[in-house]
Symmetry: C2
Subunit: 154 residues, 2 copies
């Protein structure tokens, strides 16, 4: 299909995956920098107009995949496509970040949840949202209910 290339690398506070907040109610407000290679930086023109971005990146320390697995802080197993597990057939991660500064090839963002040094594959503008009241969230809602008897309002 295509050969993935890194358009840049993420600088984040997380040197090990154990440091990344996971599971229900995990806060994702860590700041980081998306360092885009000079050869690709012209592609950032006007990106600062968007408050939020999709970041597509590579789980570069993950090898192989499991079709069924148990997410952190969950008691049951689910299919990999119903979870955010790193052990996926294509090890691509997706994170929504808030962009607060664009400085040349550096995007200063909030909400990183990937390891420091993670290769970035793509950036896309976050243009619209599904209203929260329209979402069903399957096992996630059930796990919240099992945990504390209430469903969070994210």
């Amino acid at each position: 299909m295509f050969t993935p290339i890194a358009i840049g690398y993420a600088r984040t506070p997380y040197k090990e995956s154990s440091q990344i907040p996971k599971g229900l109610g995990a806060r994702h407000d860590a700041e980081g920098i998306l360092d885009i290679h000079p050869e690709f930086a012209p592609g950032l023109l006007d990106i600062e107009g968007f408050s939020h971005l999709f970041v597509l990146w590579c789980f570069h320390r993950s090898a192989g995949f499991d079709l069924i697995g148990r997410p952190p802080i969950e008691t049951k197993q689910h299919g990999v496509f119903a979870t955010r597990s790193p052990r996926r057939p294509n090890p691509i991660g997706l994170t929504v970040v808030e962009l607060f500064r664009h400085d040349g090839g550096a995007l200063h963002v909030r909400g990183v949840d990937m390891l420091d040094g993670t290769p970035i594959l793509d950036l896309k503008p976050y243009m619209s949202s599904i209203p929260m009241e329209s979402l069903r969230r399957g096992w996630l809602t059930e796990a919240e209910l099992r945990r504390d008897g209430t469903v969070s309002t994210p």
Copy 2:
């Protein structure tokens, strides 16, 4: 990094890219089927609990990239990472779809905007939304204003 593999293919009403609704106010309620290969279908376990999914797919008819380009129904040029252009350094598409039926390896969804036969790379549960009132949408808002003097409320 990794070698992309198709976990399945999208069946959509669009045989040519000219048929896909584009630009401001384009409706994306077309129905389609995400046909997941039998070998990967076990990874769909419990996916029907989620009303919406992220679909990552390959722009398989796109070759090469442009760092700067003009989106459809826009008068100005923008960086590729501020647009949804298919001509990207990594030709990965991202679409949010509504899942309304899971039947074995077939996911019946609403909101497809890719060509019929598009290779699917990954599926992820859509777990939360950025509130629309928190979004800034850069050139998209400006283009809407230029078009009709009002900003749509998606």
